[in-house]
């Protein structure tokens, strides 16, 4: 302020002096002492008001009023706990859901890894120009890039394998093992937590086998023993000496590679795990490595890109391969998946945003309703001198308190949702290994969102309430003009909620329909009462192959007599996993070939899987099949011979990398969906397995008991027979189907949950709107009834006030859903985003909820008794 500051005391003194002077004057005019004082005071008017205005004008004590407002708001919330709980919960759900989705998206798409100078770390992918797909690189490519690149401080290569690891005293377990070039840890610039990191000296052919283990493995298997270095672990049955522990923050640079690595070994040690890796080091066509490097300080990514491209062109000008450099935070997964993940996350984000907006509209409505109830209180406060700015500030503070509390609760919601998401690593349709957690970026986002929310839901009601007209409000009646505005505002909010609700319902509905259709799909085999398991196949070698085959046969015999087992069989492929392809043609007409998938099967395969025969016979497993026989499915039979029977015909089969073979077709069976629940069955044929086949890696058991209950006996039997060859992935066929449908199930669950929340919110909101308007118009309705209006008319008017905006909102929501569902329901593969029945069903559900929420208070309006109502006030 420009002028000398005066104390409040000084100002109070001045007013006091004024009143004394006025009293003196009155006394001088002959007014008695007491009356003079009284009159003087009355003439001055509102002393406190004047002082307050002075106080406000002079002090500008923001903190002071803020604290007072916060206290006032808290008192108000405690006074009406139901209202407070509803508003806080609704907002917390909205903020929490949005925060969880943001945090997931941030972690997956944007967050830089926890490394020194992460912006200099990049990944280099090969790109096939012709097929426009990203590829790994071969080892010779890696050496060329490493030798030629001047923009890189260092360039490393890695590959992740799933191998059996026996560490400490625990049993052998399949783990992700990252095989890294010798400079990998030097490139990351992360020292070992304990011991030393792998170095260049470890990654040479013939070096003593060494490994690093992950921090969590070190803690769980070695009790965080600081002397872990020097201990031996078994990887794929081979002993490796542990040299160090990798800190938790280095969890592998690629997220969509089954699971985070828990063991690191030098690249050249892969030969110990499997001898077939030996020839990979020399092959240019075998692309199996991901390249990652650290740029020299100050080198822009563009120049690294240019250099890498030049090297790629120089390596072999004829090849269509080039190389692309991605910053690490943008290449946490295979580059081509980024769009897919982005669409999934965008769908979730839109849905969560809708819930948030809906919660805002709801809180706004509640706040507005409360402000209307408190109109008399506000009018009194304005009448005794509170400015309308003061009232707006007060109401905004109430909003802020609500928002703040909701923000705090929303962190719990977000944590819960993220835990849920983590339980379904396939939620986005890819095996992502993401470490989701609440950290500072999430907190900041949550805070910003809370503030934004407050502005969104508290502003309109605050300004609306501040426009209160004092006299009518004090008299207790409504003011027609302002009530009209409020009705509009509230109606608009109801319409908005109905629209958001409709979108969420349609989204959830589309997934529900997609899942119902998927589960109802005839897979071609019976997925109930079916247990499956995978054998870990040892490297080739006749002796081992024979032993496995024998053990498998013994297992099948023993299983046949196990209680609860109907039959058991082997095959070369797991269910719902893509199978190898071959060109198939009738030997008589080799030109008309079709692409078909195939697999080797053991005795009793068709009976165990429940695949029906349509023609011919099963494999005989005797001499007559020795010449080479096959069983085709109906899809293949139909595409090879239109009309005539294929049984007895000879087919010629040509796999891509092997010479053609001939088989006599002995039977035709039903088509089965092996590849994917969503796809149509592909042409497929079966070949009987021979005893020396080591490809028979998969066990199928048809059970009469619940299939899950046989997992333990099957495992026990196999361990007895083959103590060293593990049995993996023991699971029921239904679990496999569920796993295949995880993206849809998670999306459906999230959208369905959101839609349920939205329905509750709109029910609460609509109920309060109608109930409030009935209470407000009680007198008016009473008069109408007294004047002879029919109760039905009153009922219809009240209901109409709620239903019209709700229906308008529904229609708008359905219209917006049309384009939006392409994103939100992108993974509801087998359902059109414009599926009419889903829209109708969603509309009916919403309508039912709206009607119930509006009917209850509307009926109350109908029962108003004019003889009582008119005597009120």
């Amino acid at each position: 302020m420009m002028f000398r500051r005066r104390s409040d005391r000084d100002f109070a003194d001045e007013i006091q002096a004024h009143i004394e002077l006025e009293a003196d004057r009155l006394r001088a005019q002959g007014v008695p002492e007491d009356a003079a004082r009284h009159l003087a005071r009355r003439a001055f008017g509102n002393v406190i008001g004047a002082q307050e205005r002075y106080y406000d004008g002079h002090h500008n004590l923001l903190l002071d009023t803020l604290l007072r407002d916060v206290r006032y708001a808290l008192r108000g919330l405690v006074r009406s706990p139901g209202y407070a709980a509803a508003a806080i919960l609704a907002l917390a759900l909205g903020i929490g859901a949005t925060t969880a989705i943001f945090s997931t998206a941030d972690e997956i798409l944007f967050r830089p890894p926890d490394l020194p100078a992460p912006e200099r770390v990049v990944q280099v992918y090969s790109l096939s120009r012709k097929a426009s797909t990203y590829l790994s690189s071969s080892y010779p490519d890696y050496l060329d890039f490493r030798g030629g690149a001047r923009t890189f401080q260092s360039l490393a290569a890695y590959v992740r394998l799933i191998l059996h690891v026996a560490a400490g005293s625990a049993a052998r377990e399949r783990m992700a093992v990252e095989c890294v070039s010798g400079n990998y840890f030097e490139m990351l610039d992360v020292p070992a937590l304990v011991g030393r990191a792998l170095g260049a000296g470890d990654d040479v052919p013939g070096a003593p086998p060494v490994a690093m283990i992950a921090e969590d493995l070190w803690r769980s298997r070695f009790a965080a023993d600081s002397a872990v270095a020097g201990k031996t672990i078994l990887i794929a049955g081979q002993p490796f000496v542990v040299v160090g522990v990798v800190p938790r923050r280095v969890a592998g640079l690629n997220l969509n590679w089954v699971s985070p690595p828990r063991v690191w070994i030098p690249l050249h040690a892969t030969v110990l795990a499997s001898p077939r890796f030996a020839r990979l080091f020399a092959s240019r066509s075998a692309t199996w490595l991901v390249l990652t490097g650290r740029l020299k300080p100050g080198v822009p990514i563009g120049s690294a890109q240019a250099e890498v491209r030049t090297i790629a062109a120089r390596v072999d000008g004829n090849r269509d391969l080039t190389a692309v450099v991605f910053p690490l935070s943008r290449s946490k997964f295979w580059p081509s998946y980024r769009n897919q993940i982005r669409t999934s996350l965008a769908g979730f984000a839109i849905a969560a945003g809708l819930v948030l907006l809906l919660a805002c509209a709801n809180a706004s409505n509640l706040l507005l309703g409360r402000a209307l109830v408190r109109r008399r209180e506000l009018a009194v406060r304005i009448a005794i001198g509170a400015g309308s700015g003061r009232i707006v500030r007060q109401l905004l503070t109430e909003g802020a308190v609500l928002g703040g509390l909701s923000g705090a609760v929303s962190l719990l919601v977000a944590a819960g949702l993220m835990r849920l998401l983590r339980r379904f690593p396939d939620a986005l349709g890819l095996p992502l290994s993401v470490d989701l957690g609440i950290e500072s970026r999430t907190l900041a986002f949550c805070l910003a969102l809370s503030v934004f929310t407050i502005l969104l839901f508290a502003l309109a009601p605050a300004f609306q309430a501040a426009r209160v007209e004092i006299m009518p409000a004090l008299r207790g009646g409504g003011n027609a003009g302002s009530r009209g505005r409020e009705q509009w505002l509230r109606g608009g909010l109801v319409a908005l909620q109905a629209a958001f609700c409709m979108i969420l319902l349609v989204g959830g509905g589309l997934y529900l329909r997609a899942l119902r259709m998927a589960y109802a799909t005839d897979l071609g085999f019976r997925s109930d009462h079916l247990l499956t398991a995978a054998f870990s196949l040892a490297p080739p070698g006749r002796q081992v192959a024979d032993r496995i085959w024998n053990a498998q046969q013994t297992l099948l015999q023993r299983l046949a007599t196990t209680p609860g087992v109907v039959s058991a069989t082997l095959s070369s492929a797991a269910i719902l996993v893509p199978r190898p392809r071959a060109q198939v043609a009738q030997a008589a007409a080799p030109a008309q070939s079709v692409t078909a998938t195939y697999e080797y099967v053991g005795r009793g395969f068709f009976a165990t899987l429940g695949i029906p025969f349509f023609e011919g016979r099963d494999f005989a497993w005797r001499g007559e099949d020795a010449g080479g026989v096959a069983i085709v499915d109906r899809t293949l039979a139909r595409s090879l011979s239109a009309g005539s029977s294929l049984v007895g015909q000879t087919i010629s089969v040509e796999p891509p990398d092997r010479p053609a073979q001939r088989f006599v077709v002995v039977g035709v069976v039903g088509a089965a969906k092996y590849g994917s629940v969503w796809a149509q069955p592909e042409p497929h044929f079966y070949v009987p397995a021979k005893p020396d086949d080591v490809t028979m890696g998969f066990l199928h058991v048809r059970t009469s008991a619940p299939p899950g209950s046989l997992a333990a006996p099957v495992r026990k039997l196999w361990t007895e027979l083959m103590p060293l060859a593990p049995l993996d992935d023991v699971e029921t066929a239904e679990q496999r189907v569920n796993a295949e449908l995880t993206p849809q199930r998670v999306a459906g669950g999230i959208l369905g949950g959101f839609a349920a929340v939205a329905l509750i919110l709109i029910a609460v909101g609509l109920y309060s709107v109608v109930a409030f308007s009935v209470a407000q118009r009680q007198r008016e309705i009473g008069i109408r009834l007294a004047l002879g209006a029919g109760r039905g008319t009153i009922f219809a008017t009240v209901l109409g006030k709620a239903l019209i905006p709700a229906l308008a909102g529904m229609a708008a929501g359905a219209t917006i859903s049309f384009p939006l569902m392409r994103i939100i329901a992108a993974k509801a593969t087998n359902v059109s985003p414009h599926d009419l029945s889903t829209y109708v069903a969603g509309a009916l559900v919403l309508l039912a909820v709206i009607c119930v929420a509006a009917l209850v208070p509307a009926r109350r309006a109908m029962r108003i008794d004019p003889s009582i109502t008119l005597r009120l006030d």
């Binding site: 001045e14 002096a17 004024h18 003196d24 005019q29 003439a43 002393v47 004047a50 002075y54 004008g57």
Partner: protein, 119 residues
Amino acid sequence: MVTQGDAERLTLLQGTLDLLILRTLLFGPQHGQGIARQIQESSGDELLVEHGALYPALQRLEGQGWISAAWGVSANNRRARFYSLTRAGRNRLAHETSRWRRLAKAIFRVLDAEGGATQ
């Protein structure tokens, strides 16, 4: 009170209170009560100064530097805060007065223009 009832008095037009305060102080320093009283009396008891509005106005004028204030003693020996016109205030008064006269003249012209269109 002896004179008119409060309800019959004219309330001040928005913004005119400042002008009247400045005008009152032209005759010398005066305290708040005195200012209010003087405005009321010199208007022939037609104008009512809401005392609650007076002090914010005084404060505003003081803030703008048009008046200054100091504690003193009133004619009947009471301590009171006396306001006096500053040089800036005098200029302001002259300016505002002429503006007000023009405005009033214009309003009168409109109000008295009954049948004036034919003149």
